[in-house]
Amino acid sequence: MNEKYESQMKKGVLDMLVLKLLEKEKKYGYQIISELKEKSNQRFSLKEGTLYPILYRLEDDKLVESKWGEAVGKKVPRKYYVITKEGQSALKEIEALWQEISNSVSMIMEGEEHE
């Protein structure tokens, strides 16, 4: 199968997944990349070039905020992304939308199978 189809399909849900990972706590970029990879059984292994534009867009839309953390000892300073109140409610709406879309898709796909 052409890789294009897979990445095209994933693209639509990435914003939602990133917001979801930030729902409970602040995270830094590389952390989001590792968690996505781990929790999806490697299905979503994002590159920085994919993740950061998403984070910047979410930030432009005021759904997340970012802040550089203090460098502790020899550790590298990290930029943390925090979900905003607006982001929280947007996430709920997107999740609901995803359910609807997912149901509609299932209906079509299953309907086609039965015919």
């Binding site: 830094y28 590389y30 590159k47 920085e48 070039g49 590298v76 990290r78």
Partner: protein, 214 residues
């Protein structure tokens, strides 16, 4: 290695310098985090992609505003590079050009002293005392003061000068060139068969730093 890699990405980004710096900082923070976790540089680079690929991914997502800022900053950079270049060039040119002022305004040189020194040099030339002339010269000028070279130069003006007669009109000025200050003396000397105009430049120690005759 990682710094170079990040820089290679940064210079390909088509966004405002503010955003570029932010991206560079963030990428290098990720890079360092992975290094701390024991991942090898080569593996990180392989995962992140080549600088061109990574920059391309970012470039495809920049807003219109970011792109506008990028273009504007690029023009400002270009124009200021040209301006700096021109100012530098003008400065160099000014530095190279000799700048003269009347000897009376000079804080370094006395007119009478410069005139006397010029007359002394010409007398030494007339006596063909090149050893003393070399002693009175800066290093660069020493090579010209020998009998062979001088005879050739003199022959360019006239084969037979004749005996020295007298000094004619004198003009003295202070000249600044390439960060150095000289006293320049133009003096006429008449010989039996020719009149020669000497132009001599002396440095602050009154050593010969330049010599022309015609």
């Amino acid at each position: 290695m990682s710094k170079k890699y990040i820089h290679q990405i940064g210079k390909r980004l088509k966004c405002s310098s503010k955003r570029r710096k932010e991206i560079e900082k963030e990428l290098s923070s990720d890079f360092m985090s992975e290094l701390e976790n024991g991942v090898k540089e080569q593996e990180i680079i392989q995962r992140m992609g080549t600088p061109a690929e990574l920059a391309e991914e970012f470039n495809n997502t920049f807003s219109k505003e970011e792109q506008k800022k990028y273009k504007k900053e690029k023009w400002i950079k270009r124009i200021s590079a040209i301006v700096v270049g021109l100012v530098f060039f003008a400065g160099i040119l000014y530095w190279f050009l000799p700048k003269s002022k009347p000897i009376e305004e000079s804080k370094l040189f006395q007119k009478e002293e410069a005139k006397k020194q010029a007359e002394r040099v010409i007398e030494l030339l007339n006596e063909e005392d090149y050893k003393t002339l070399r002693e009175c010269s800066i290093k660069k000028m020493k090579q010209y003061f020998d009998k062979e070279t001088m005879d050739e130069l003199k022959a360019l003006i006239s084969e037979e000068w004749g005996e020295f007669q007298d000094f004619g009109s004198v003009y003295v000025a202070e000249t600044k060139q390439m960060g150095k200050t000289f006293a320049s003396v133009q003096i006429n000397a008449s010989y039996e068969n020719v009149t020669v105009t000497y132009v001599l430049a002396f440095d602050e120690e009154m050593k010969i730093a330049g010599f022309w005759m015609r």
